[in-house]
């Protein structure tokens, strides 16, 4: 367990730098919650909580809100400069593009985790209906891999978004 916490802390310092340390509780909680929820699906008869879109939407909304709250707390009202881009007379167009990009982040986080977990469960259900003895086993092995990778990617994206709102605007 200490290896997991140490690993997450190393990754946070590596990705976000030293001023990323205060976000370690949030990111570690999200990462361990997503990882354990994904792995619960591998026990036969259990359905992973992250295979429901409400759970993943909740996690994604937390990340979205925390990026903006952290940005406003750190930069004050100059946070709007993040949305305006480097050339001042292109600012209205770039503002819309940046807003759409920012809004697409929780959507993509939600759908990525939900689709991976739910798709895996659907495939397992189909395999159990077709050939219940040996065939689901390779799918469950892939499920272990996919669970770890998706939890890792969720944590990494959360770190990158928070770091993007902490750094100086271009």
């Amino acid at each position: 367990m200490e290896a997991v916490i140490g690993g997450i802390e190393n990754m946070i310092v590596e990705t976000m730098g030293e001023h990323g340390r205060p976000f370690f509780p949030l990111i570690a909680t999200l990462a361990i919650f997503v990882l354990v929820s994904n792995l619960i699906g591998l026990i036969p008869g259990f359905f992973p909580p992250t295979a429901n879109i409400n759970t993943t939407a909740a996690c994604a909304i937390i990340v979205f809100l925390s990026t903006h709250v952290v940005g406003i707390k750190h930069h004050g009202l100059h946070y709007v400069k993040h949305f305006l881009g480097p050339i001042w007379w292109l600012a209205p167009m770039i503002f819309f593009i940046e807003v759409i990009g920012h809004l697409s982040r929780p959507v993509s986080l939600t759908l990525r985790l939900f689709g991976n977990m739910n798709g895996h469960e659907l495939v397992l259900m189909v395999f159990f209906a077709l050939a219940p003895f040996i065939v689901p086993l390779p799918m469950m092995l892939m499920g272990v891999l996919v669970s770890f990778i998706q939890a890792f990617v969720f944590m990494l994206l959360a770190m990158i978004y928070i770091q993007g709102s902490l750094e100086e605007a271009h």
């Binding site: 759908l111 990525r112 689709g115 991976n116 798709g119 990778i149 890792f152 990617v153």
Partner: protein, 91 residues
């Protein structure tokens, strides 16, 4: 060609096309990663980590297509409209 058989057809073709693009994209990602490891076997840890992240990003596009196909098949928003219209015809 009634509504529901066209739905099944659309879901199959949609997910198939989603898988084509994903396969090509992930193939390029793995190609770059394997070439990188071949040039520099000592950096294989970092290269593998970056490759995993890239693969998960590209995979998420196929997952978006999968979610749309699942919505078409299982949570179709026009199902009630079509069933209501079918009732008025069959009478």
């Amino acid at each position: 060609m009634d509504f529901f058989s066209v739905c099944v057809f659309a879901a199959g073709i949609g997910m198939g096309l989603g898988a084509v693009g994903t396969g090509i994209g992930q193939g390029f990602a793995v190609k770059g990663a394997v070439e990188g490891v071949a040039r520099n076997p000592g950096a294989s840890g970092k290269i593998l980590t970056t490759m995993m992240i890239g693969l998960a990003m590209i995979e998420s596009l196929a997952i978006y297509a999968l979610v749309i196909c699942l919505i078409i098949l299982f949570a179709n928003p026009y199902k009630d409209v079509v069933l209501g219209l079918a009732k008025t015809v069959v009478k």
